[in-house]
């Protein structure tokens, strides 16, 4: 037997104190298998030991929340007995090391989280952050990640309907790949992971177990350095074909009542699925590893318990239902094996070749995982109004901004994703939120992911508030009632007080925004240690959100639809240029205060927008975010090539007014005869509204600033991504 030396403990990412605690819980020294199991269960990735104390501050309840955080995914009621099941999860570290497989298995993992709850996945989104465009690895990573997402999602036949792609040098050594999956189920057919009761068969379904991905969870809980690429063998390989079969087979089994509990084998595979199911059900689990379907010969108990081979599930069945389940899995040509049973011992007992190779109290693995109140320092938010050149041409800057890496059209990305399969995609990528119809109904889900990391760096609290507010606004802008949030908190090393301070402030910001907007957090994921050579990423608390359109025929899109419509600006414009895209791209400055978010105004303005759409008075709406008013206007002009003419706006300076990123604002186009009525109802609701101009023509004309042809804007907007990926453009650094 291997002796557990301090070196081995260190290699498992456990501290001296944590090892002492394990010995105390076991009343003896662990063996190597047990040490391996503890190391993954107590890793940051599985235990949330640095963030758990903070995450408790998030609001998680509402009358429509049927399942909050703690299960494989959150569940919300969308009426008529239907529920939406969703979650967002990161696969950052593997995607940097091996972009195609890292991203592909990220997609596969989050889909399993959703269908293990009994839901059919109906939409995918991805929030992606890459390094500076001119960093030598960026193109390769963009190309690999995008094709990996497509390769997996397209084969699954689940539409990938949108997301985000941003570039910033802070991600040079540590990209972010956050995948969100949304599924649909019936409220009375939700499956959970609590393995209640003793003597029930534990069954293994899906792919065989290999040696891939051993220690993936531990890798995801450490910083990167120059040798990170040597960790490539810890990245798993995805098999979307098997996952598609697993999806169909699981849904077929779920249509029976044979399942007591089911859980996917994600990070830390067999270990975490069995420990979590036992812990939640208050039972023990006995596993016989000789019965585990194996891909390779001579696998040790350590290998099998820590393998992260993909496309596997663990389920607890009602006794006597094994045959029925086996028939279904054989039909789909998947492995099926009874590998153990539940007990009343409260222990996870693992046998291999007739020997007990691990015997641990289940609660020690999950409930007794350390919780750290790590020291943190809250940073003073960046402030001030940076100087800028007021004499610059407004419209030259517009052409540059539309071709800048963070604003240019993402068509190159989303055309590689099947976004119309399942024949329910009502709004495709490119709008404020994607809209996916609930099959066979007139209801639809609106889905978005948002965060502006540069705001979060300047002010983690306001920045995180803004991420929630923007998600809420994007859902409102298509006409949906925002319902709930999944959060993916990507940060640096939590052992540094300044990073822990970012986390604490961001959680407070999310909590406040979610409380005021009645927008509970129902699932989420934390990804920490996103650092390379001690450089942390921008704090990136990505927010995924889901809303409901009760009548999909009353929906808005961003495209101008008619010539001669009145263009209205909803919300107040002060000209906040701090941390704006304009400052960064045109003046080369990442400075100033992040735009403040007034949540009461957000709510009032968003409710007003939604009421216009629901009443059929507006079908053209766009939220204002990166690039402010003028970029939003250009984005509304481009899809149908219908131009616009707008008046000079009141305000100190044209640049600040047109490019400032003040929050709680929307552009709306309404039929000319309705304009007065809409302005009057805005006034009555206490909502700021200004008549800005008219749609029409083949250019954008701004009183006092000149005009720019749509064709020139389109070239700028559509051209950057394909030129960049084709290697014909050396972009500006950012």
């Amino acid at each position: 037997m291997t002796e557990i030396t301090p070196q081995i403990v260190r290699e498992h990412g456990l501290s001296v104190e944590e090892y002492g605690r394990i010995k105390q819980l076991l009343n003896r020294d662990p063996n190597l298998v047990e040490l391996g199991v503890f190391s993954v269960m107590w890793s940051e990735h599985c235990s949330y030991k640095s963030t758990r104390a903070h995450l408790r501050r998030l609001p998680t309840k509402a009358p429509w929340v049927l399942q909050g955080p703690g299960e494989n995914a959150g569940v919300i009621d969308i009426g008529d007995g239907d529920v939406a099941v969703f979650k967002m999860e990161s696969h950052n570290h593997p995607s940097f090391i091996e972009p195609y497989q890292g991203a592909a298995t990220g997609v596969g993992g989050i889909m399993r989280d959703v269908f293990t709850m009994g839901a059919r996945p109906v939409a995918m989104m991805n929030a992606l952050r890459f390094g500076a465009p001119d960093h030598p690895k960026t193109r390769h990573l963009v190309s690999g990640v995008v094709s990996g997402i497509g390769g997996y999602g397209n084969c699954m036949g689940v539409p990938t309907v949108g997301g985000e792609v941003n570039f910033h040098r802070s991600y040079n050594g540590n990209i972010l790949v956050n995948a969100m999956c949304v599924g649909l189920a019936r409220a009375d057919k939700i499956f959970k992971s609590a393995a209640e009761g003793a003597g029930n068969p534990v069954v293994y379904i899906g792919s065989k177990t290999g040696r891939d991905g051993i220690h993936g969870a531990t890798m995801a809980s450490a910083e990167f350095n120059e040798d990170s690429e040597e960790k490539r063998p810890t990245v798993q390989v995805g098999d979307p074909f098997t996952e598609k079969l697993l999806l169909e087979a699981c849904l077929e089994l779920m249509a029976t009542d044979a399942i007591i509990a089911i859980q996917d084998m994600g990070a830390a595979g067999l270990t975490s699925s069995s420990a979590e199911m036992g812990s939640k059900g208050g039972s023990g689990i006995e596993l016989d590893l000789d019965r585990v379907p194996q891909r390779e010969e001579n696998m040790t108990a350590y290998d099998m318990m820590l393998s992260e081979s993909q496309e596997r599930m663990l389920a607890v069945l009602k006794p006597g239902r094994e045959g029925e389940a086996e028939r279904i899995f054989k039909k789909w040509e998947l492995d099926f094996a009874v590998i153990g049973r539940t007990t009343d011992s409260g222990r996870l007992i693992v046998k291999h070749k007739g020997q007990v190779v691990a015997d641990m109290p289940v609660h020690a693995l999950s409930e007794e995982a350390p919780v750290y109140n790590r020291p943190f320092e809250r940073r003073t938010p960046a402030g001030g109004t940076p100087a800028y050149d007021r004499a610059r041409s407004v419209l030259d800057s517009l052409a540059r901004l539309m071709a800048s890496p963070d604003i240019a059209s993402r068509r190159w990305v989303w055309e590689q994703y099947d976004n119309t399969v399942m024949a329910d995609t009502v709004q495709r990528p490119g709008g404020d939120a994607a809209v996916v119809r609930v099959h066979n109904t007139d209801k639809a889900l609106a889905i978005t992911t948002d965060v502006t990391p540069r705001y979060c760096k300047a002010d983690p609290f306001e920045g995180a508030k803004q991420a929630v507010a923007e998600a809420w606004r994007n859902l409102s802008a298509v006409g949906a009632t925002p319902l709930a949030v999944t959060d993916n908190l990507n940060f640096g090393n939590p052992e540094k007080p300044e990073i822990m301070g970012e986390i604490a402030s961001a959680v407070d910001g999310i909590a406040e925004a979610c409380r005021v907007l009645d927008f509970p957090v129902v699932s989420g994921n934390c990804s920490l240690y996103n650092e390379t050579n001690r450089e942390a990423i921008l704090p990136t608390p990505a927010i995924g959100a889901v809303g409901l359109l009760k009548n999909v025929h009353r929906m808005a899109t961003i495209a101008f639809k008619r010539e001669g419509d009145a263009i209205l600006l909803i919300g107040e414009t002060k000209g906040h240029l701090g941390q704006s895209i304009y400052l960064r791209e045109i003046e080369g400055k990442e400075e100033g205060a992040a735009p403040p978010v007034d949540l009461a105004t957000e709510k009032k303005n968003g409710d007003f927008i939604r009421s216009l759409i629901e009443a059929g008075r507006a079908d053209t709406v766009h939220d204002l975010s990166d690039g402010g008013l003028l970029v939003a206007l250009a984005e509304m002009v481009l899809p149908a090539r219908i131009g616009a003419a707008i008046a000079r706006l009141a305000g100190s300076d044209a640049i600040a007014v047109l490019y400032g990123e003040d929050q709680a604002r929307y552009l709306v186009a309404v039929r000319e005869p309705d304009a007065d009525r809409v302005l009057a109802s805005a006034k009555a609701a206490g909502v700021g509204a200004t008549l800005l101009g008219r749609t029409g023509g083949d250019k954008i004309a701004i009183e006092g600033a000149g005009e720019i042809a749509i064709a020139a804007l389109a070239r700028a907007h559509e051209g950057w991504f394909p030129r960049y990926m084709g290697g014909t453009e050396l972009p500006l650094s950012n």
Partner: protein, 222 residues
């Protein structure tokens, strides 16, 4: 019109095809499993889109060897109408029911977008409700849709009026020879096409240009 949709492991447009058929014919199609020996008596067999058997090998190559395809081939030879969409088109070329092959897209990437098509041939059970030269918009979603055949075969397809759909000028999304998007078998009862007509049968989804294809079939086969 009685119809059947063949379901291979990892077909993923089987439901979309079934929904379109049910909406337009008022009758649920029979869903046939790849391991079945025989299809029931139907007027139309649909091979749907997807990634049959994962398509880790050449697309459609595994599906072409499946048990159900023996019966599809037999029925096609007997004159039963067969429609292969996307992966279904790939399966048809691999089975030899249609000539040529579908290679990796010229730009080497998966492509999903609406593309402009032109109806070239209306003398078919699939297209009689369209006008010759009519411009349509169907979505494509594939990585391997680059139609290839030798010059002689291409000349013959054109000469016999078997090129049914072509990508409109400037719209070819995959490098297909002579902008070919869909072709008929010699007996004109088998159609394979890469674009997805079943995804444009509902105004909420960006158009109804696909409806006339199914209506042509209903009119002829009912």
């Amino acid at each position: 019109m009685k119809s059947a949709v063949v379901v291979f492991p990892a077909s993923n447009c089987d439901r979309d095809a079934a929904v379109a058929l049910e909406q337009l014919t008022g009758e649920k199609p029979h869903m046939a499993w790849h391991a079945d020996a025989e299809l029931p008596d139907v007027d139309l067999i649909v091979l749907p889109g997807g990634f049959a058997y994962g398509d880790y090998l050449r697309c459609g190559a595994m599906a072409a060897q499946s048990r159900i395809m023996r019966d599809v081939k037999k029925k096609a030879d007997e004159g039963v109408t067969v429609l292969g969409i996307c992966n279904g088109f790939q399966v048809l070329t691999e089975t030899g029911l249609l000539p040529g092959a579908l290679m990796r897209n010229a730009q080497l990437k998966f492509v999903c977008k609406p593309v402009g098509l032109e109806v070239e041939e209306t003398q078919s059970v699939f297209t009689r409700k369209y006008d010759k030269g009519q411009r349509l918009s169907f979505p494509v979603a594939h990585g391997d849709g680059n139609y290839f055949a030798d010059e002689e075969t291409l000349d013959r397809l054109e000469g016999e009026g078997r090129v049914v759909f072509r990508y409109a000028p400037g719209e070819n999304p995959n490098g297909s020879a002579r902008n070919i998007a869909g072709i008929l078998s010699e007996k004109r009862n088998v159609l394979g096409l890469m674009p997805h007509p079943e995804r444009v049968c509902d105004p909420m989804l960006g158009g109804t240009d696909g409806v006339a294809l199914f209506q042509s079939l209903i009119e002829t086969l009912s």
